[in-house]
C-alpha cells in the first residue's frame, strides 16, 4: 500500500539513524557527524512512546563521535555534555557519572572530582529519589577519588618522614580525605553488587588506621553474604587479608575452599594445595589431591611447572607410603579417558622436552605412575633424559620402574 512507502518523518529519521550507525561501525566519523546533524532536529518532535528517545541517542552517538573524531577536543566534549545534561532531567545523574568516567580516562582527575561534587549537590524533587542508585555511585566514585588523594598524600609523608611542620597540613588533609572516602565507600559496599575496587580501597584505609576488625567484617560480608553475587575476588581478598594478619591455617583453608569450588582453575590453587598437602588431617590431604588434579584439568595450566610439581610431589608421597592409593584411583577414574591425549601425547613429550626440561621431568613422573613405565610420554622423556645424562632422570626411571605395579593397581 502507498502508506508503507510514504516518506514520513519517523521513517526518515530511522533511515538517517541507520546511516549514522553504518558510518560509526566503519569508523567514518566525519560521515557520522554529517548524518547526525540531520538527525538532531528529532529533539523537537515528540518521541515519548519510543523505548530510547532521540535525546539519549544523540547523547550516546555524539559521545562516540567526539571521542574518536580527530578534530574534537576535550573542550568541545565538555560543552557537548553540558548540553546533554540539560536535555533530560531523568538522565541527569547518569550523564554526570559517565562524564566523570570520561574525564578520568583522559587523566583529568581534578575536573572529574569537581563534576562529581557538583552532581552530588544536585536536587530535583522526586527525581533525586528516583535516581538514588546513580547518586550512590556518584558518591562512591567521589569517595574513590578521595581515597586516591589520601593515597598520594600518604606516600608523600612516608617518603619524607616526619620532619617539619609542613607535613602537619598534609597530614591533616590526608585524614580529612580518609574521612570523606571512608564514609562514601562504606555506603556503596552495603548494597549488594560487585564492588571490588571500592572494597579493596576501603580495606586499605581501615588497615592503615588499624581498624582490623571492621576490615575483617567488611571482607566477610562481601564474600559470604548470599545477597551479593558470587564473586571469586571476594574470597581472594579475604584470603589475602587473613594471610597478611597471620591467621590460622584453618581459616585460610576455609577461605580458599570456596574459591576452589567457584573457580577450580584459580592461580591460588597452588598455594592451596601446598597448604593442604602439609596438613596432618587426612581429609585435608585428600582435598589437596582433588584440588591439584582439578586445576590441571584446565588448558591454562598445562605448562605450569609448579602445578605439576605439586601433583608429582603428592603422587610420589602417596606411592612411597603405599597408603591411599585409592585416592589416586578415584581422581584418575574420571580422567583416564582424556588426560593421556590432553597432557601425555608423544607430540607434547617432544615439545616439553625441547622447551622445558623441568616441566617434562614433573610430568614424566606423574605419567609414569598413572600410565605405567611403558607409556609414550614417560618412555620418551626418560630416554631423552638418560641420553642427556641428567642425573634426576636416571633416578626417575628407577623410581617408576620400581613402582610399576602401582600403575597396574590404579588402572584396574
Amino acid at each position: 500500500s502507498s502508506r508503507e512507502h510514504k516518506l514520513n518523518f519517523k521513517k526518515s529519521k530511522e533511515v538517517c539513524l541507520n546511516y549514522i550507525q553504518d558510518a560509526m561501525l566503519q569508523k567514518q566519523w566525519k560521515r557520522a557527524a554529517e548524518f547526525l546533524t540531520f538527525y538532531i532536529e528529532s529533539l523537537e518532535k515528540d518521541f515519548s512512546t519510543e523505548y530510547m528517545g532521540p535525546s539519549e541517542m544523540i547523547w550516546r552517538i555524539g559521545t562516540e563521535i567526539l571521542c574518536h573524531h580527530s578534530h574534537s577536543s576535550m573542550k568541545e566534549f565538555n560543552s557537548f555534555i553540558e548540553q546533554m545534561k540539560t536535555l533530560g532531567v531523568k538522565r541527569y545523574l547518569k550523564v554526570c557519572l559517565e562524564h566523570a568516567f570520561h574525564l578520568l580516562c583522559n587523566g583529568l582527575v581534578d575536573e572529574a572530582y569537581q563534576n562529581l561534587s557538583l552532581a552530588e549537590s544536585w536536587r530535583f524533587g522526586e527525581q533525586t529519589v528516583i535516581q538514588d542508585k546513580e547518586m550512590k555511585l556518584i558518591q562512591a566514585y567521589r569517595g574513590l577519588l578521595d581515597y586516591y588523594s589520601w593515597s598520594k598524600q600518604k606516600n608523600v609523608l612516608l617518603e619524607h618522614g616526619h620532619d617539619g611542620f609542613e607535613d602537619l597540613s598534609v597530614e591533616q588533609e590526608m585524614h580529612s580525605c580518609f574521612r570523606k572516602a571512608a564514609v562514601n565507600l562504606k555506603e556503596i559496599i552495603k548494597i549488594p553488587g560487585v564492588w571490588d575496587l571500592f572494597v579493596k580501597c576501603y580495606v586499605d584505609l581501615l588497615e592503615f588506621y588499624g581498624d582490623h576488625n571492621e576490615a575483617r567484617q567488611v571482607l566477610n560480608e562481601y564474600a559470604y553474604n548470599s545477597k551479593f553475587p558470587a564473586n571469586p575476588n571476594a574470597h581472594v581478598y579475604l584470603y589475602q587479608f587473613l594471610k597478611r594478619h597471620g591467621e590460622s591455617k584453618k581459616s585460610l583453608i576455609s577461605a580458599l575452599k570456596i574459591l576452589h569450588d567457584i573457580v577450580p582453575s584459580h592461580e591460588l590453587m597452588i598455594d592451596f594445595n601446598t597448604m593442604l598437602q602439609k596438613s596432618k588431617k587426612r581429609k585435608k590431604r585428600r582435598l589437596g589431591l582433588e584440588v591439584i588434579f582439578a586445576a590441571l584439568d584446565y588448558a591454562g595450566w598445562k605448562e605450569n611447572v609448579k602445578a605439576w610439581n605439586c601433583l608429582a610431589r603428592q603422587v610420589k608421597q602417596i606411592v612411597i607410603s603405599e597408603k591411599h592409593l585409592d585416592w589416586i584411583k578415584q581422581e584418575w577414574n574420571s580422567r583416564k579417558d582424556w588426560w593421556p591425549a590432553f597432557h601425555f601425547s608423544r607430540y607434547l613429550a617432544k615439545r616439553n622436552w625441547q622447551e622445558n626440561e623441568s616441566l617434562s621431568y614433573e610430568k614424566a613422573l606423574v605419567a609414569g605412575i598413572l600410565l605405567g613405565k611403558d607409556c609414550k610420554y614417560f618412555k620418551y622423556i626418560s630416554h631423552q633424559g638418560c641420553k642427556a645424562q641428567v642425573k634426576r632422570f636416571r633416578i626417575l626411571k628407577k623410581f617408576v620402574n620400581k613402582h610399576n605395579p602401582v600403575y597396574l593397581r590404579i588402572s584396574s
Partner: protein, 318 residues
C-alpha cells in the same frame, strides 16, 4: 509529518478540479508536450534506449487510440472517463514495447542480446545493433548510483520549519530553549562533518539521467539500431519475438480495491521488475502504478484476442 504520495496528490487534484467546476482543459494534441508520443520520446531518451523504439511506441499508441484528443484532455467532473496520468501512461507504453520486442521473461532477452552481439561482429555499415545486455549493465550501474544518492538525500531531509511552533505560552520558553540546543548541536557537529560541499546549483532540466553520444565509452544507446533483433518478413521489419505474456489475465475492479492489478516483485521476471524499477525511479512513484497502467494497455492491445477466448493463459501468441 510526511511527504504526500503521488496518488493522494493526484486524487486531490481531480477533486479540486471538480469542486471548482473547471471547464474542459485545453486540448492535448500530438504537438503538445503531454501527448504520449512526445513523452515517450523524452523517456526513451532518458532511459538511454534507441530512438528507433519511438516508431514502435507510436504504433502502440495509435493502435489502442490513446493518442486521441478526447481521451487525453482532462474533463473535470466527468466521472465516466478514466483519468489519464500522462507520464505513467507514456512509460507504460515503453514497457509494453520492450515486452513486445524482448519478451522480458528472464531468458529470451538475453538470448536475443547474444544474437545481436553476433550480428554486430559482422556489422560494418551504419550504427551498432542494440544489445540488451550492454544496455542493462550501463543502466543498472547508473541507476544504483542515483538511487544511493536519492536514499542519502532522503535520510538527510530536514523537516523542521524556520520558526518553531508552540501551542501555549507555557511551552514557549521550553520550545525556544530546545530550538537553541538543536541549533548549537547542529553547528557543533556540522563543523565536524568535514569539508562542506557548496550547494550545487540545481540543474534546470527535468532529466535526471543524461546520455551523450559524444561519450566515447559507448554508453549512449540512442543511435543504436534495432535491426539486430528484427527480421524481415514480407518486406517489413518485425520483431523476432513471437510470444507475449500478459501481466494479468483479468483486471480488478478499481472500486473494490483501488487498483486494477496487484504487483508483487516475486511474481514477475527480474527483467520486467528492473524495467519497472528504472521508470519508477525516474517518475518517483511506486512500480505498482506503472504496472497497473501496463496491464490496462495490454488489455486494450489484446482486447480482441481476450474477448474471443477468455480461457487464455499467460503466454498468448500474437
Amino acid at each position: 509529518q510526511s511527504w504526500p504520495a503521488y496518488e493522494e496528490v493526484y486524487n486531490k487534484m481531480l477533486e479540486l478540479a471538480a469542486f471548482l467546476d473547471l471547464p474542459r482543459f485545453p486540448d492535448i494534441t500530438d504537438s503538445c508536450f503531454l501527448h504520449p508520443d512526445m513523452l515517450c520520446m523524452k523517456y526513451l531518451m532518458e532511459a538511454n534506449l534507441p530512438d528507433e523504439l519511438h516508431n514502435w511506441t507510436c504504433r502502440v499508441v495509435k493502435k489502442i487510440c490513446i493518442g486521441e484528443v478526447d481521451f487525453l484532455t482532462l474533463m473535470p467532473g466527468n466521472k465516466s472517463t478514466r483519468k489519464v496520468k500522462y507520464d505513467v501512461l507514456a512509460v507504460a507504453v515503453i514497457v509494453v514495447v520492450l515486452k513486445l520486442l524482448f519478451l522480458l521473461d528472464d531468458h529470451y532477452e538475453w538470448l536475443l542480446s547474444d544474437f545481436a552481439e553476433e550480428r554486430n561482429k559482422n556489422n560494418k555499415e551504419g550504427g551498432p545493433y542494440f544489445e540488451f545486455k550492454k544496455w542493462y549493465k550501463v543502466i543498472k550501474c547508473s541507476l544504483d548510483v542515483e538511487q544511493k544518492k536519492l536514499d542519502e538525500e532522503r535520510a538527510k531531509y530536514l523537516w523542521r520549519c524556520e520558526k518553531p511552533l508552540f501551542y501555549s505560552a507555557q511551552k514557549k520558553s521550553k520550545v525556544l530553549k530546545r530550538r537553541q540546543i538543536v541549533v548549537n548541536l547542529q553547528n557543533q557537529f556540522g563543523k565536524l562533518s568535514g569539508s562542506v560541499r557548496p550547494a550545487e546549483k540545481p540543474n534546470p532540466s527535468s532529466f535526471q539521467l543524461s546520455w551523450s553520444e559524444e561519450n566515447t565509452d559507448g554508453s549512449c544507446f540512442h543511435g543504436h539500431s534495432l535491426k539486430g533483433i528484427l527480421q524481415e518478413k514480407c518486406g517489413l521489419l518485425t520483431a523476432m519475438n513471437p510470444d507475449y505474456w500478459l501481466c494479468t489475465v483479468k483486471l480488478c475492479t478499481e472500486k473494490l480495491c483501488g487498483h486494477l492489478a496487484h504487483y508483487r516483485e516475486v511474481d514477475f521476471p527480474q527483467s520486467y521488475h528492473f524495467v519497472l524499477r528504472l521508470f519508477s525511479f525516474l517518475l518517483r512513484i511506486q512500480p505498482s502504478y506503472i504496472h497497473d497502467e501496463v496491464c490496462v494497455i495490454e488489455h486494450k492491445l489484446f482486447n480482441k484476442k481476450l474477448c474471443k477466448k477468455p480461457k487464455y493463459n499467460i503466454g498468448l501468441r500474437k
